[in-house]
Amino acid sequence: MDVKSEILGRYNAKVFKNRKDHILRVTGTEGGVPEIAANTRAMPGIMTNRGCCYAGCKGVVVGPIRDAVTITHGPIGCGFYTWGTRRNKARAGEDGKNFIQYCFSTDMQESDIVFGGDKKLRQAIKEAVEIFHPQTVFICSTCPVGLIGDDIHAVAAEAEKLYGITCTAFSCEGYKGVSQSGGHHIANNGLMKRLIGSNDTPPETKYSVNLLGEYNIGGDGWEVERILRRIGYDVVSVFTGDGSVERISRSHMVNLNLVQCHRSINYVAEMMKTVYGVDWLKVNFIGLDAVCDSLRNIAEFFGDEDLKRRTEEVVAEEMAGIAEDMAFFKNKLEGRTAALFVGGSRSHHYQALLKNLGVSTVLAGYEFAHRDDYEGRDIIPEIKEDADSKNIEQLEVERDPKRYRAFLSPERYEELKASIGLENYRGMIRDMPDGSYVVDDLNHFETEQFSKLLRPDIFFSGIKDKYVLQKGGTLSRQLHSYDYSGPYAGFKGAVVFGRDLVMGLYAPAWNMVTPPWKKERPEKDSEKEGSSHA
């Protein structure tokens, strides 16, 4: 019996029916990529790893913007859990504003639930403005706010008039959608409606880009920015790691959007294309071949020979700088296997880096992806809307006739679509080895079972799984927080990643877990006599 059947066989009929389409074994993709169920409701009681809409909006996309005061409107928990816990690093800019270290909440009490919380929200904004003098205030709502019907958007509009600030509200109540994914979309919509396009300052050079879907966890965004700037690009804005309102407001002026995490940010990429004509390119700055390919594709987009030469120079220098370290780590890791279960695109991205280190993938899955993240964007027209996805606003945007600029000629655009995959994402499955498993919304039970049956040497997941796996004797590294290490992106990050894997796998403690009295004791010499082995 294969591993999939063995695991599904343990489920009751309803769960079996629900889960069977979320698990597949890769058996060659030449005849087409197999279909997987994704972005559907998790069954109650299943112990999913998923979070909620608020987590996707405030926790992922809005939270890292450092110069805005983001007020969580709700009881204290939601705001508290997103306080300094996601490692999206940020430094204050010249304005000295860095609110990342702070947690702001309306800390709703019972009376606010009964009589409405909008008064308290108004007062909280007033206090935030008086104490912190922010230019921008974001409001993120939690479950009860939607239920009691506080009009946070009206409060935001009123605050803009009263204080002369930008105040944007996000209705990202936790119950909306089926995972964090709905929250990403709501955040994208808000940024598009309120920030992007509000400042027409042109970039320093025509080689201008935004880095979308890069949250600067462990400093990844800084490493990527370093490389891009070395080559000569102007990185106008990073969405949203170390992000600032000022940079995001002029992000529509670039000539190319680079999309790192496809899931969380593709909405902004698409909308910026429609409104401002900015092309987008899926990139991957995790894994050396992936980084080099991405850099070459970007240079190809701009089509400048100097830029291409400079790209090759930087690639050669950077690769030479890390070659020795990478060879050392690869030697220690060659032949190992890995399972990956992370949120959006990372389960795909890290397979590239693992390959560089000689580690093959036996299982990969996404926590909140949609079918296109697995199967590629070609299938988007096939995706059927369901009741849950209909609840997330699909923002209708139109071309801005004054500011729409196409960088490429229509012919060149078509050429690049074919050659560098402009405005396409081919999904994870195509890059996965035959015989490996793809699992959407992997739950606790399946994590345990797959770990036992596939015996990966390393299981990349999050904090909720980490010690489940470790207790079972499998090294688990968190790909959400990098276990407080990083960066893992770019060239320098690859070395840090290799070091961390070697550190984990070669920890002396692994060999000491079983006490000597529980190990098979060596036979006495007399009994050994006559044995044939030397």
Partner: protein, 453 residues
């Protein structure tokens, strides 16, 4: 660090900044993990339990299991009954606990889901149990949620007709597994027959064996919770975390209780030992010796504690204990805060401070770390004693810090080590002395550096 915090304190009525508490459900979840073969269950949208499991795992560096009713928009409108029924079936089918402990969230509370009737109407396998407690996130704090969940277990399970077992029930308070081990060790030394409820030792500090056990050996059993009704008495440790459940047990089963502070420091541990031993009981020599060693250490290191000022912050019972012990060490608590609301905290903290003649300390409940930081900017202290988020203030103001309480997210090993009892106090004294003495070494002139201190 925290560069945008102004020195001038202004009145805030609505904006909470840098909280010193979290919400009820995480406390309920932790309480339920102290019951053997129990699956905690969050009746709300799935983000809550994702956060809570994450948070507890970060504190304990252990798996924290729990399931969710995974509310979507539909359930939020039409009620979460069907979600709970599906969840309970799936949990028993897939994860096979003996008991599911459901707690509510702000979502299910706001829509008014009636958990009592949902659970009553369920058909459950004969040997399986479901209990619940109401833990609205917009009331109290995680400490309230912990107390409410314990009361929930008692309401459902404690047997008013249980045969008298003569045992002492001990509710250990919102503490670490290391503390519970220490409390149990002391009870054993005292020769008591006892039930500790809840008991996260063995669960949230399970050993490394290369085998993951979803339900480790530890935890209060369902039978033990039933038998609480037949206990001779309850010692409830921590007025904020355990008095309400002790009261619930007394009301339901007539078991009298003694409400004690958490046994942190000399006097509180003495009080616990005396109460546990009872009027006729004797205290074994081992405890005399432990106590004697603690007092020895306190006198030895006294010069380094004397008149040092500090800020204590965290959960109410823990903060009261830490305040009392630092006073016993000869230190001067200057700021004593908790995020959990309630005037009782202020009264109790004042009473502790009064015993040592301290009248000018600032004491506040429903406070936050932003305000504490502002106070410190105006009048600094020598030491911070509290939870991990204090590290921002420690860095901003260059003040040494000792971590204690919940949560401690940025250190390893703390949850194995007690701060309760005489041994816990010795550990605390050593941590505090080391922090202060390291600072003295760091800051002194070369010619003032003493090798012997």
């Amino acid at each position: 660090m925290l560069d945008l915090t102004p020195k001038t304190v202004t009145e805030r009525g609505a904006l909470r900044v840098n909280p010193c508490k979290t919400c009820q459900p995480v406390g309920a979840l932790y309480a339920a993990l102290g019951v053997h073969k129990c699956m905690p269950h969050s009746h709300g949208s799935q983000g809550c339990v994702s956060y809570h499991r994450t948070f507890l795992t970060r504190h304990f560096k252990e798996p924290a299991i729990a399931a969710s009713s995974s509310f979507t928009e539909g359930a939020s409108v039409f009620g979460g009954g069907p979600n709970l029924r599906t969840a309970v079936k799936n949990i028993f089918d897939i994860y096979n606990p003996d008991i599911i402990a459901v707690h509510t969230t702000c979502l299910s509370e706001t829509i008014g889901d009636d958990l009592n009737s949902y659970i009553l109407e369920m058909s459950l396998p004969d040997d399986k149990t479901v209990v619940h407690s109401n833990t609205p996130s917009y009331v109290g704090s995680h400490i309230t949620g912990y107390a409410n969940m314990l009361s929930g277990f008692i309401r459902y399970l404690a047997d008013a007709h249980a045969a008298g077992n003569g045992k002492t029930a001990v509710f250990p308070g919102f503490v670490n597994p290391g503390d519970i081990r220490e409390i149990k060790r002391m009870l054993e030394l005292l020769g008591l027959s006892f039930i500790v409820f809840p008991d996260q030792s063995g669960v949230m500090d399970a050993p490394m064996t290369n085998t993951y056990q979803m339900y480790p050996e530890g935890g209060t059993t369902i039978d033990e919770i039933r038998a609480l009704g037949g206990c001779a008495r309850v010692l409830s440790l921590g007025r904020f975390s355990c008095e309400a459940p002790a009261d619930a047990l007394e009301k339901k089963c007539g078991v009298p209780y003694v409400s004690l502070p958490l046994p942190i420091g000399v006097a509180a541990t003495d009080e616990f030992v005396m109460a546990a031993a009872g009027p006729d009981g004797s205290v074994p020599g081992e405890l005399d010796d432990e106590r004697g060693r603690l007092l020895d250490l306190m006198l030895d290191a006294n010069p380094y504690f004397y008149n040092k000022t500090l800020a204590v912050f965290g959960d109410p019972d823990t903060v009261l204990g830490l305040t009392a012990f630092t006073l016993e060490l000869g230190m001067k608590p200057k700021y004593v805060i908790t995020g959990t609301p309630g005037d009782a905290f202020v009264r109790q903290a004042r009473a502790v401070l009064d015993r040592f003649g301290i009248v000018d300390a600032k004491v506040k409940a429903a406070a936050d770390l932003f305000e504490l930081h502002q106070w410190i900017k105006n009048e600094p202290v020598d030491l911070l004693l509290g939870t991990s988020y204090g590290k921002q203030i420690a860095k901003a103001e260059d003040i040494p810090m000792v971590r204690a309480g919940f949560p401690v997210l940025d250190r390893y090993g703390h949850s194995y080590m007690p701060i309760v009892g005489y041994q816990g106090a010795m550990r605390l004294a050593e941590l505090v002395a080391n922090a202060l003495m390291d600072r003295q070494d760091r800051d002194c002139a070369d010619e003032d550096m003493d090798v012997v201190m």
